[in-house]
Each structure stands twice: as structure tokens, then as C-alpha cells.
Symmetry: C2
Subunit: 340 residues, 2 copies
Amino acid sequence: MRPVTLKEIAKELGISVATVSKALKGYQDVSPKTRKRVLELTEKLNYSPNTAAISLRKQHTKTIGVIIPTIVHYFFSSVIEAIIKIADSKDYLVILLQSDENFELEKKQVNLLLSKGIDGLIISLSNHTRTYTHLKKLQDYNVPFVQIDKISKIVHSSKVIIDDRKAAYNAVSYLIEKGYKKIAHFRAGLNPQNSIDRYLGYKKALEDNDIPLDPSLVYICDNNRDFEDGIFNAEKMIKEHGNSVDAIFTVNDMLAIGAIHYFRNNDIKIPEEIAVFGFSNWFMSSVISPKLSTVNQDGSIMGEAAINVLFEEIENKRAGKPALNKTVVIDTDLVIREST
Amino acid sequence: MRPVTLKEIAKELGISVATVSKALKGYQDVSPKTRKRVLELTEKLNYSPNTAAISLRKQHTKTIGVIIPTIVHYFFSSVIEAIIKIADSKDYLVILLQSDENFELEKKQVNLLLSKGIDGLIISLSNHTRTYTHLKKLQDYNVPFVQIDKISKIVHSSKVIIDDRKAAYNAVSYLIEKGYKKIAHFRAGLNPQNSIDRYLGYKKALEDNDIPLDPSLVYICDNNRDFEDGIFNAEKMIKEHGNSVDAIFTVNDMLAIGAIHYFRNNDIKIPEEIAVFGFSNWFMSSVISPKLSTVNQDGSIMGEAAINVLFEEIENKRAGKPALNKTVVIDTDLVIREST
DNA sequence: TTGTATGCGTTATCAC
DNA sequence: GTGATAACGCATACAA
């Protein structure tokens, strides 16, 4: 069985394709009687228009692309879920691609999506993205896009982010207020903007409280195995600093959980001997023991904001106006649990 | 800037569209000189063919659909990741939809995808799907699809599943061998095939070891808040049976983790006083304390199998052959950790 | 070796 | 109120 087409409907009814089309679209210049016949038959035959033909004709696809570094990730999958839900409710479909933190792949995927003719794109950059010709290309072709979470500040586009610096600042300030003095930081690689900003927030909080920054307390965890990295660096830290460190602020929850894992296995009490503060508020962080204090970063809210901004941009483009290039900053808050 | 078309290339070169098209497709009946000119110009102008036009012309879209009950879920997101990766490597795009365990939505999404003209579909049914006209419709329109994980046995299609019954049987048998005698079961709702089969495996293992099935030890957890459900039913169980129960086998890890949470908060020692055996091997299960024994169910492997079978079906259809309707059973194994 | 013509399914313009 | 017809961009059978 093949999908029924306008032509077949028209033939069956003994009228022209044009009339059928107009009847379906509710044009006023078609007689009620004809409209009724058309509607009945299309209903009966379960007609649904061919998307490719519409895309070709109307030059839009009603689909948007989403490129994300990793899908199996509590935060990102929440983002994706929100995007898909809202897109679906507006009859947009979403094509999901995973860059795998691989810049070349990311570039290829943008091109793929471009040739596919998506109506818009939501993208979170890989950790290794340092050139932006692929994003420029989107601009050249006038494809609306919004960067989320891991963004490039120098590319002009709409953005949805959290204020990483401020969030980190707040977390570390909280630790200091609580009386912790020697606070280590487990950061990610040198490149991702997130990692930089969270580090900067950490640094600023120390400065503002007259605690000198000790570079030997900053551990770079960048081999993409966060849990193991957390264990590894916790061990390293204890070797290098004994039990003098009284708190750690980690760039994400997984690293924190790895560290907690190490401390528990080595009978180091949390938070008595060392406090641990994470970042993201993964579901997991409320389930492990001790429950992790962390920065709450809500994926659903970010996803929702992203798709809404994207729709605004699409709307805007349709109206012939220039891109909005707005930046939405999502609120974060501190979730204090047992680990601090 | 608009994407360049064949027509423009042809005009620029002073040749016909047909020749350009053929040159690009590597047909032999075009002179090397012409081909070279075409290739150079398309390269320079960054030509990439319009997907809608190709879809319309060739009656395929090079995209497949995926419908999943919940995206934010370790197992399913692993499945999705694997599907996307392999699809991407074969230049197929994937449209992802979430049914949210909602049957009406699932139906609507199948129709949406159908009118979109996907080349194939991978679907995992919602817990509330009990009629299958939407799947039949896929068959009517001859759209290859494969059911995964949560499937309907009565719908004929390719399937990728695990042997839930056997896996559950093995888990419970292990518990019995270990000496546990009064083994409770936290199951999911009455409908999903998974839940039924795991229950059946549990039951069979008891029978084969001459342990009478005690219906009061089977708890139905079906309000979609697994962690809380685990806590709630653990409490209920203790109230009803005191400390006479010495093990629980749960239909998924989240439920197990909820139960563990309750036991720890109430100073019930695991596994000394009660053992807990989960199902799925979520990442989390190796990170909590005590580490959870569980059935390992690998999402990547299932995703990979699903997309490969789907491609086989697509290939098959293209060759004009009838659907394969093959069933792939993915191996599971027991991961024994600290909770048993 | 190249070009012409046709059709994929739909929409929109314009004539009737 | 209805119907040809062209166009969207591409691929292909056939003619030249």
C-alpha cells in the first residue's frame, strides 16, 4: 500500500488536483459541497501530505537539528527531552546527532544538517572545537541556530547558558562561609568555556575572601572518564597534600562521586575530614551516600529555553528580520546536602 | 546566501542540468573534461544536493525514526546513542521521539513519522500500549520497523530483545544458591511484557527449587517514580513481613536503589539481613553503596543490533523481498557485587 | 557525449 | 467555483 496522493483523490472525485488542494487548505473559493466530498474522501483514505513535496515547494522542513557532545548524560538527555517535547507539540521533528566531543564529526554533522535543509539548529560545542567556520556557514546560509551550555563566546548567535562563573563563585563562597579553608578544585580540560568559567568563579571566591590561590590544588581532569578521574585525582591529592585539604569543588558531579568513592574506600570521613561540592545536580547525586551538595543546573529548563529561542529566531527570519542573537541566562542554585 | 542548485551550476558552465547531474553521479557517458569542470565548480560553490528534491524523486528519505518511552534513562539513552552513531556512519539521520509512556502520543508519533516518510522505524512500546493498529499501519505502508526491548509479541516484525525470563530466572536462581530462601519481588505494572517475563522467571526459579510462591511477597510498583516506589515498597514489605524476608529481586535498578536507600536509613544491613538484586546494570549501580548486584543489560549492544536489523530490513525491502521478521536475543549476564 | 523531456507531490498564480 | 499550468530541485529514459 502506498500513501495516497492528491492526484488520486482528485481522480477519484473527478475534480482537479488544484481544487482538492484548496479544499484541504480551507480556501474560501471552493464550494461547500466540493469541500465536503474532498474532506470525506481524504479522511476515508487516510490522506496525509507528502512531506518531501511540501519541503521542496515551501522551502522549509519543519524539522530542527540538535548536536550534542554526549547523549548518555543526565544533563544533556534532559535537555534533549525538553527540546523534543516542545518541538513535537509544535509539529516540528528533531534530528539528533552526537558529536562525541569530536570536532571533525561536529563539523561534518553541521554540513549534513545543512544539506538536509533543517529549519534551525541547537548546538552544544565539543570540548575540542576551537574554530568556527561551520557555525559561520550556518550564518551564511541564514539558518537560525542557538548555542547552548558549551558555547563559543566569539560567535554571534542566540545563546542559552548558565552563569558558570557566578554559580561556581557561589558554591565556593558557601564552602568558605562554612569554614572550609583549603579548598581544592577538580576542573575539566583547559578549553571548554564551562570549565574556564567555573575555575574563574572558584578563583574569584578565594580572592574575595583573601585566600591565596594554590595552583597545586587545582587538578585537571580531562580524559573523559569522569568517575575514574575523580578517584584518580582524589588519590593524587591525598598523596600530595595529605589530609590538609578540607574541601573540594568539582566541575561536575561525576568527578565528585568518584572522589567520594575514593574517600569512603579509604575511610576518610565526608564531610568531617573533607567536604565535596559538585556541579550539575545529576539525579544520582541525591541517591548516593553521602548525598552530594551541588549546583543545580536544570536541563529541562535549558532545553525549553533553547527551543523557544530557536522558534523565535525562525519566526523572526520568516518575517524577514535580522537575527535576534539574544542570550538567555538560566538560573542556578545551590543544593546543600550531606557532603558539605 | 541560498544553497546553489544544479540549475545554477549548469547555467554557469553553459551545459545542461542533466549533464551536471550525471557528472556528479559518476556516470561514464560524460567526457572527462566536462566532469572535471563540473566537479571543480561544485566544489568551489560548495554544492550539496537538496534533500527534499532527492526524497521526492527517489522516494526515500535517508532518515529513520526512533520512538522511545523515556529518553532520560541510562539504558535507553545508551540505545539511542548506539543507533545514532551507526546511522550517522551510514549517512542516515535519525528523528527521535519520546512517547512518554503515553499510548495516544505514541500513536500520533507513528503517524507523524509515517507522513514524514521515514525509511524505517525503531520503536520501544509504552507501558500502556495494548492495541497495535499503529504498528499494523506501518506494515500496510510497508515501512520496515523493529521493536526493541518493550515489544508486543503478537505483532509480527523484527525484534531485538533480551530473554527477560531467563535473565530473571538466573538472578533468582543465584540468590537461591547463595542460600536465600524468602525472596520478594518488586515488579512493574501488569502490562509491559518485560515485567511479565521477569516475574515469570522469578516464579519459575522458585518452583524449580521447590520454594512455594508467596503472592504477598510480590509488590507491584507502577506509578513511574521508581526510586520513591522502591522506598515505599521496601517500607511496606518490612511492615508486612518484618525481617523475615532475606532477599529482593527487583524489576529494575532504580527500584533496588530506592529499597537500599530505605534499608540503610533504617539500619537494615545489606546483604547480611537482606540481599538486593537489581536489573539493568545502570551506571549508577556500580557507584552506590553497597554496590548493586544486577542483571547486565547492555543498551549499546541492543541499539547496535536494532539498527543493523533495521538496515537489513530496509535492504530487503529494496530488493523486493518480504520482511525478514527476525528476532535477535541479546545476551545478559549476572553482575555480582556487594548487595548479595 | 550531451541535451530534452518527464515526473516525484504539492502549492500558487492565473485564466476560465 | 474550478482547473490548467508552472515551479520547487533532482534523476533518468530517451533522443539527438
